[in-house]
């Protein structure tokens, strides 16, 4: 005799019931936790920006953000101004750090003028200009917050990724990689050159800060190339602002 569970009608009903139950469960969890997740992401953005300007709790080789409790206070203390640059015009916007770079990139592709957020911070008399940028790694998105001085010399950087290979490309968020960018020049002889993640710069200790190159990570060529491309194409958009700053 045919088993009850082999019947087509049973199969269809089971499938429908399963989809409804699992779907409801997922939808419920997602919407119940939505606000908390959004808040965590907002805090993380502030932590990333502060990290790039050297406000962090690094221990040894480990990159640590300022704690969740202190982040709001530090953010208002160190970030003195937030601006949005669009078509060469600057407007102040205290929520500029919430601008979704991915959306901006997509809408720029459709021909809309790109909105470029820039966060201006001050610590111990030094001014930091921090730009959020986004690009592609090997598997998925990579992004960064790059803190620069008025001459576009990198003062600090925080890199992150969505799904690079653990132990290889994922190492872009390790200090040994991020710290190499500190002091590195983005300009070369007055024109924008970016920073290349190079496998052949022969400078593993990264002592030459004017060569526009940092040492690559073995085994993560494509992630490294993604970092190079991201820095070049995204930070280039800020060059007119920095040129203006000097005049």
């Amino acid at each position: 005799m045919e088993k009850r569970t082999d019947k087509n009608s049973y199969t269809v009903i089971f499938a429908i019931a399963m989809v409804i139950i699992v779907g409801a469960l997922l939808a419920f969890t997602a919407s119940a936790l939505k606000d908390r997740i959004a808040e965590n992401k907002r805090i993380e953005k502030q932590q990333n920006i502060l990290y790039a300007m050297g406000v962090n709790e690094n221990e040894g080789n480990k990159a640590n953000f300022v704690s969740k409790e202190k982040v709001a206070e530090s953010f208002s203390k160190y970030i003195t101004n937030q601006i949005v640059i669009q078509d060469g015009n600057e407007t102040q916007d205290e929520n500029a750090y919430l601008i979704d770079i991915k959306k901006e990139q997509t809408s720029a592709k459709d021909g809309n003028p790109r909105r470029l957020p820039l966060f201006i911070g001050e610590k111990e008399g030094q001014k930091f200009y921090i730009a959020p940028i986004r690009g592609k790694g090997l598997w998925d998105a990579i992004w960064a917050y790059v803190a620069m001085d008025k001459d576009m010399v990198v003062l600090g950087a925080y890199f992150d990724h969505k799904g690079e290979t653990p132990g290889l490309g994922a190492n872009i968020k390790e200090r040994f990689f991020m710290d190499d960018f500190v002091g590195e020049h983005l300009m070369s002889n007055g024109s924008f050159k970016g920073i290349t993640v190079s496998k052949s710069n022969g400078d593993p200790k990264n002592e030459d800060k004017k060569d526009n190159e940092v040492d690559a990570i073995a085994g993560s060529t494509i992630t490294g190339d993604g970092v190079t491309a991201m820095l070049r194409s995204e930070l280039q958009l800020y060059v007119p602002y920095f040129k203006n700053l000097k005049n």
């Binding site: 569970t5 965590n40 993380e44 799904g163």
Partner: protein, 215 residues
């Protein structure tokens, strides 16, 4: 193993060696290649799989009598995917830092064929308690291989263990590097994971000839 009967403890112990999911059943090879460049990633993956396998096997075993056999694979897939997504959401809300560490593993857990393989081969035909033990046993067996491979790949490829430089500094030429030793960058690439797994399979089978399959 006084708590478990002899049959039950076999469920835990067998996958650790003579019925290891990676070296004998040849399941879960993809993730063994992907994430073993560092010991830490191996350990994190082991813990994640331990959790998903334990809970997943129990869920499948609970509903085994009502799953229509024609769509059982889809049902299994739905269970793992839903489980992993819920865990991911909860971590994002309550342990955000941890969820960032784990984010890359989420996709790898869903596609890990050990999980589907054990659902199909064991949980569909066995009771809840035995399925739970089978899940734990196989996850541990998977983890052991992952950790062995991760250990050698990180040590020989980067000269570090859990991120700590154990062989000296390759740039300042201290420790063993002072004698001309170099890290083998090849160890960081996936093919070397396969070769390390191959060596483990070789050692295991030459110690226990009963494991060699007839052709």
């Amino acid at each position: 193993m006084g708590l478990l009967s002899k049959k039950d403890s076999k469920l835990i112990l067998d996958p650790l060696a003579d019925n290891n999911p990676i070296t004998i059943q040849v399941l879960g090879i993809c993730s063994a290649l992907a994430i073993t460049a560092q010991l830490k990633a191996s350990i994190v993956m082991t813990i994640s799989v331990l959790f998903v396998m334990g809970v997943g096997n129990v869920v499948i075993s609970l509903i085994r009598n009502i799953i229509p056999s024609k769509i059982r694979i889809i049902v299994q897939l739905t269970v793992v995917a839903a489980l992993v997504i819920i865990v991911d959401l909860v971590l994002k809300a309550f342990a955000y830092e941890l969820s960032k560490e784990l984010s890359v593993f989420v996709g790898l857990i869903i596609t890990n064929c050990i999980i589907m393989g054990r659902f199909e081969a064991f949980a569909l035909a066995n009771g809840v308690w035995r399925s739970f033990l089978d899940g734990i046993g196989n996850a541990l067996g998977y983890g052991i291989i992952l950790i062995i491979v991760g250990f050698f790949r990180e040590l020989l490829g980067s000269g570090t263990l859990l991120g700590i430089q154990v062989l000296g500094d390759p740039i300042d030429k201290t420790g063993v590097y002072a004698f001309g030793y170099e890290n083998n960058g090849f160890m960081l690439l996936s093919p070397m994971a396969l070769i390390v797994v191959g060596i483990i399979i070789w050692v295991q089978r030459s110690r226990n000839k009963a494991l060699i399959e007839d052709h």
